[in-house]
Amino acid sequence: MTWTRVPGVASLIWLALAVAFFALQTVTVPVTDPELRDAVGETASFAPDLWLPLFSFDGGTVIDMQASNDVRVLTFGLLDAETRAVDALRGTPVTLALGWFAALMALIEAGLAWAFRDREEKLVRPLVRAAGIFLVIWSFYGHEPFWDWMLRGLFPTSPDLLYNSNVLVSLASQHLELVLVSSILTITIGLSLGIAVTRAAFREFLPLVSDVVNSGQTVPTLAIIAIMAPIIGFGFWPAIVALILYGLLPIVRNTIVGLEGVDPAMIDAAKGMGMTPTQILWQIEVPSAASIILAGVRTSVVINVGTAALGAFVGSGGLGNPIASGLNQSIDPWVLLGALAAALLAILLDYILGRIEYVMTPKGLQIEQ
C-alpha cells in the first residue's frame, strides 16, 4: 500500500467513527401530545441504535419501534415525537463533523491520485473509488439536503422528496445490519460446507451440496422471503434466511474451486513432512485458496446489499423501506433515494472488501510467476 492511499484508509476509519458516534448519541425531544405526556413524561429520548431504533421515555418505558408496529400506529403522539427526533437527528454536530472529515480525506485521496497520475499506473480506479467514498459519507451523514436538492432536480413537482419516517443513516445502519449478520452467517456456513465437502470423509456430499447451493440462487429471493415470513414471522429473520440462501453460492463454489485447485504436490510435501490434516488445511490449503475464497465472499456480500432491500417487504427495515413505501404510495423520489443509497453502500462495501482481499492474500502468492 503506497502512502497516497493513506487518506483513503483514514476516511474509512473516520467513517467508522462517525457511525459509532451516531449510534451512541441520543436525541431528546419534548412530548407534545397530552395523553402521551401523562403516560410517559415530559420528554422522549430517541436512540438511533445502529440496529433498531428505540424510544425511551422519562419514566423508563422503552418502546421498540421495530417490534411494535401497532404502538406506532395507535400512538399519534409517539409519531409526532419520532418526526421531531428525526428532524433533530438530521445533522447533529459530532456526526456531521466526522462525516465531513471523512469525506475530506476521500477528496484528498482523489487529489493525490490525480497529482501522482504519472507514477500510479491506474488513475481511474482510485478516483472513482475516492469519489464513491465521498458520496456515501457525505450524503449519508446528515447531508440530506444534498438528496433533497438532487431529487428536486429530478422530480420538480413531487410533494414528497425525502423519506419522512427515518433518517437515511438509520436506514443504512439497518441495511448494514442485515448485510453483516447475513454475511457473517453465510461466510461461516459457506466456508464450513466448502471445506467439509473437499475433505475425504465428506467428499461424497459434494454433488449434493453443489445442487442445493445452486438451487438456492435460482429460487427468487422474494419467493423465499414470502415463504419464510409465515414460517418464522415478519421482521429481521426471514430476510436473513433468504439472504443466506441467496449468498451461499459464490462462497461455497469459490471455496470448493479454491481448495480443489491447491497443487497436490504441495499437499503431498506437507503430509510427507509430518503436518497434520488440520495444519495442512489452515496453513497450506486455506492460504493458497484465500484469494479465490475472498473473491467469493466479496461477490456474495455485494449481492446481499442489493438483495437486502427486499427485506423491507417483510418489515426488516433498511434502505428497502423508502423503496417499498415509495412503491406503495407512488412516491418516486423515495424509490430512487433507497435504490441510490443501496448502490452507494454496495460500492463502499466492495471497496472495503477489495482492500481486505488484497491484505489477506499472502504476499508470496501476489508475485507473478
Partner: protein, 378 residues
Amino acid sequence: MIEFQNVVKRFPDGFTAVKGLNLTVHDGEITVFIGPSGCGKTTSMRMVNRLLSITEGKILVEGRDNRDFPAEELRRKIGYAIQQIGLFPHFTVLDNIAVVPRMLGWEESRIRKRVDELLDLVGLDPDINRDKYPRQLSGGQQQRVGVARALGADPPIMLMDEPFGAIDPITREVLQEEFLAIQQEIGKTIIFVTHDIDEAIKMGDRIAILRDGALEQYDTPDNILAHPKDRFVRDFVGSDRSLKRLGLVRVSELMDPESKPLVRMRDSTDKARQVIEEHKVRSAFVVDDEGVLKGWVDLDGIRHAPNSLIDAMMEADFHEIGVRKGNTAREALSAMVARGFRITPVVDKNGRLVGSITLKALQDLAEQEWSEEEATAS
C-alpha cells in the same frame, strides 16, 4: 537402517504394486530404487513414511516397526523431497525450511541458525535468499530449497522421489554433483527413487532394480553394470554399460603415477627427445617450476627444431590437454577420443602434473568386464 520385510502393497482396486519386497537400506548410503514405471519403486518408498499403508509385512526404521509411531511423528523424523518440489508459495524460503523444526518446537533463534546453515550447504546465500518467496527463485534454486527443507530438522533418513527429475539437464548435473558433495558431509540414509539409470549409477551407493513389484537385482552400481543378473537388468542398464561403468571409475584409480615423461619450460628440445626416448612414448609433458602442466611436445615437433627452447614449442594450457584426477574414466576417454591422444596427462586441482592415463588402461578395464561376462554367460 531401513528394512523391508516381505512388504506387500495391494491397492483397493486389487492391483498389487509391491509383491513381497525384502531389502535392507544401509546406514549412511544412498540406495536408489529404479525400474520401469509401475514397478513399485515410488510405492515402496512411500510406505516408509506411511504416506501409503502397508498391506502385508513390515518396514523397520532404525530397528522399530514404522507403525509403532504416530504417522506424523514418524514423518517429521524422515526428510522428504519430491520431483514437484512442493514448496509453499505463501511461505518465505526461511518459513519453508523451518516447517519441520517449528513443528518440533525448536527455539526461533536455533531455527534461524539452522536455516542459514542449510542455505549455505545447498549453495544459496542466506542473506539474499532467506526472505524471498519461492516464485522469485529459479527451478534449480527451488529444488535446492526443497533439499534444504527436507534436511530441515536434520533427520537421519531421507526419502527423495526423483528430486532432480523436473530440472533441465545442465542444472541437474550440477545439483547431482552438489548433492553428492553434501552427502559426503552429512552421511544420511537415503532412499532415492529415479527412472534414469545414469542418475542411479551416479548417485547410488547401491541400486535396487524393481520389476512388477519385485526386487530384480540389488547391488552396487559397479556390480550391476559388470554382472547384470539377467536379460531384463542387462536391457535396463543399456547396451552401453561398459561405457557407463567407465563413468564409475575415477581417473586416479587408472592412472600411472610413475609414467610422467616431463620436461621443464626452460629445458631444450634435446632434453625433451631424451625424455621421450627414455619413457618409450611419443610426446613429453611440459611443466613450469611449480610443476603445473603447461603443454606438451612430441617427436615430430622437435625433430625440425633441435636445440631450441621448449618454451616456444608449447601447445596449450592444461585445461585443454589434461584430465583431472577426480574426473571419471568416461570423461578421460571422451577427452582422448576428441583430441586423438593415446596418452593424456593427469593433473590435480591446482593443475600440477600427477601422472598419465593411457587409452590402453581404459580398454583393459572394458575387456576385463567382457571376459567376466562371457564367464558368467557360459
